[in-house]
C-alpha cells in the first residue's frame, strides 16, 4: 500500500505504465460513467514523482502530459503544463508525503489533482472554450479514492523482476 523506497526500475517500466495509463484514459466506457473516469495519467505521474524524482526529473511529467494532449486531441501543451506543476509540488514534498498514512496521502493527492483540474479549467477559459459543466470536477475525488488501490498495484508491479 505504501510507496516503497526501492528505485531500481528501468525506463521500460515507466514507459510501459504510462502507455497503459494513456490507454486507460481513452478506453471506451458507457457514457454515464465517463465523467467518473479517474485521471490515470496524473496518478501515474504522481506515483513516479513521489517514488523517484531524481531518476525522472520534470521532463517525464512534461512528456506524459504532451502525450495525453495528443491522445485526447485537446490544446497541445495544457496537460504538459499542469502535470509538470503538480509533479514539481509532489517532488518537493515527497519525503513528507511518502511518510503519510494512506488516507492522508489520498488527501494530498486530492489537493494536487484539484490543482491540476483547476489549472486545466483556467487554460480552457483563457483559450476561449471553457467547459463549465460541474461534472468535470467529479474525476478529482474519484481519482483520489483510487490512489491507495493504484499504488498497491504499482508497488507490486515495480518490485517484480
Amino acid at each position: 500500500m505504501m510507496i516503497g523506497t526501492r528505485t531500481n526500475f528501468g525506463w521500460g517500466r515507466v514507459v510501459g505504465l504510462t502507455v497503459l495509463a494513456l490507454a486507460a484514459s481513452v478506453a471506451p466506457l458507457p457514457s454515464f460513467l465517463e465523467p467518473y473516469r479517474p485521471d490515470f495519467v496524473a496518478l501515474t505521474v504522481l506515483w513516479f514523482c513521489l517514488l523517484s524524482p531524481r531518476l525522472l526529473g520534470l521532463a517525464y511529467p512534461w512528456c506524459a502530459g504532451l502525450a495525453l494532449d495528443g491522445f485526447q486531441g485537446v490544446l497541445l501543451g495544457q496537460h504538459a503544463l499542469t502535470l509538470t506543476c503538480i509533479a514539481y509540488v509532489a517532488a518537493k514534498f515527497r519525503l513528507q508525503i511518502r511518510a503519510f498514512p494512506p488516507l492522508q496521502q489520498s488527501a494530498v493527492v486530492l489537493a494536487l489533482l484539484w490543482l491540476n483540474e483547476f489549472l486545466l479549467f483556467w487554460i480552457d477559459g483563457v483559450a476561449g472554450h471553457p467547459v463549465t459543466d460541474w461534472r468535470r470536477w467529479l474525476s478529482v475525488p474519484v481519482s483520489a479514492a483510487c490512489w491507495p488501490l493504484l499504488t498497491g498495484i504499482y508497488a507490486r508491479f515495480a518490485s517484480r523482476r
Binding site: 494513456l22 490507454a23 481513452v26 478506453a27 471506451p28 512534461w62 502530459g65 485526447q72 501543451g77
Partner: protein, 287 residues
C-alpha cells in the same frame, strides 16, 4: 529543479500559444496523433471484437425482422428514386438557366468511428481514415439522416471529427419551410442544438426542418441538420430562443460518410420571399 519547472512551463505555454493562435504545429500534432493511433486502436479492438461476435450470434428472428424492415425501406426509397431522376434533370436545367453550378456531393467515403472516448465534455470522435485516404481539414461528414460534423485534425491514418453538437461548433442553417437563415450552435449535449440569432418576428414553429444553407462552403447545401423541438417567444427579448434536435445519430453511429463537393461557387441563396417562386416556375414551363 525550480529553474527546470520554469523552463518546462514556458515551453508548454509556448506550445499552447502556437497551437491555439497560429495552428503552426500541424507537424507535431500529426506526429503525436499517429503515434497515439495504434494504441487508441488497440484499446477499442476488444470492444469491437465483442460487438462483431455478438453480431454473428444474432438470432434468426432478429435478422428476419431486420430484413423485413430493410425490404420495406428499400421499396420506399425506390419509389422516391423514381422521381429523383426526373427532378435531378429538372434541377440541372433550372441551374443552367440561372447559370450556377450545382453544389452537390461528388464523392464520398465511408469511415468507421474508432470507439475511444476523447474528452467527455467535448463532442469529438476519431475515425479510421486520414490523409492517406485524401481526408482534409474542414471536410464535412454526414450520415444517413443528416449532417454529422467536420474534420478538425488529420493524421496519416486517422482524423478527428468535431460534431455539430460540440459547444465550439456552429453551422449555417436554413429553415426549410420558410428559407429563413440562421446559425445553429452546438451545446455540448449530443441531442441539442441552439439557434440564438433569429429575431422575434421570424416564422419558426416546432417541427420545422433545418437544412444546411451551404454558406461558408464547409457543408454541402440542402442536407438535413435538425428538427426544431422548442421555440420560446419572450416579448421582452429581441431574439427568439430556439432549440433543435440533430437528425444525424451523433452518439450511436458506427460509421460516417466523408464527402467531397464543389464549394467554389458561393451563390446567394433565394430570399425567403422569393422561395415560392422557383416552385411555381416549372409548373408554368412544363406544358
Amino acid at each position: 529543479m525550480g529553474l527546470r519547472l520554469i523552463v518546462l512551463a514556458a515551453m508548454a505555454a509556448g506550445l499552447m500559444v502556437a497551437d491555439h493562435r497560429q495552428h503552426h504545429l500541424a507537424v507535431i500534432r500529426d506526429g503525436v496523433a499517429s503515434l497515439a493511433y495504434p494504441i487508441q486502436w488497440a484499446v477499442q479492438a476488444p470492444v469491437q471484437a465483442f460487438d462483431a461476435m455478438r453480431e454473428s450470434f444474432a438470432t434468426k428472428t432478429r435478422v428476419e425482422a431486420e430484413n423485413i424492415k430493410l425490404a420495406a425501406d428499400n421499396l420506399v426509397l425506390r419509389l422516391k428514386l423514381l422521381r429523383f431522376d426526373s427532378l435531378e434533370q429538372e434541377n440541372r436545367r433550372l441551374r443552367a438557366v440561372r447559370e450556377s453550378s450545382p453544389r452537390v456531393v461528388q464523392r464520398s467515403l465511408v469511415a468507421e468511428i474508432v470507439r475511444v472516448d476523447l474528452d467527455p465534455f467535448r463532442q469529438r470522435v476519431l475515425i479510421n481514415k486520414g490523409t492517406r485516404a485524401d481526408v482534409f481539414r474542414g471536410q464535412a461528414a454526414i450520415d444517413a439522416n443528416g449532417i454529422y460534423g467536420q474534420v478538425t485534425r488529420v493524421g496519416p491514418f486517422s482524423a478527428e471529427i468535431i460534431l455539430i453538437s460540440d459547444p465550439e461548433h456552429a453551422i449555417p442553417v436554413q429553415v426549410n419551410r420558410t428559407g429563413a437563415r440562421s446559425i445553429a450552435l452546438g451545446t455540448g449535449r449530443s441531442g441539442l442544438l441552439s439557434l440564438p440569432y433569429l429575431p422575434q418576428n421570424t416564422d419558426v414553429i416546432v417541427g420545422d426542418l433545418l437544412v444546411s444553407s451551404g454558406l461558408g462552403g464547409v457543408y454541402p447545401p440542402g442536407y438535413p441538420v435538425g428538427k426544431v423541438t422548442a421555440v420560446t417567444r419572450d416579448s421582452g427579448q429581441p431574439l427568439l430562443e430556439i432549440e433543435a434536435e440533430p437528425l444525424a445519430g451523433l452518439d450511436r453511429d458506427p460509421e460516417v460518410l466523408l464527402v467531397w463537393f464543389d464549394s467554389e461557387v458561393m451563390e446567394p441563396l433565394s430570399e425567403p420571399e422569393a422561395a415560392p417562386l422557383p416552385a411555381q416556375a416549372p409548373a408554368g414551363e412544363t406544358p
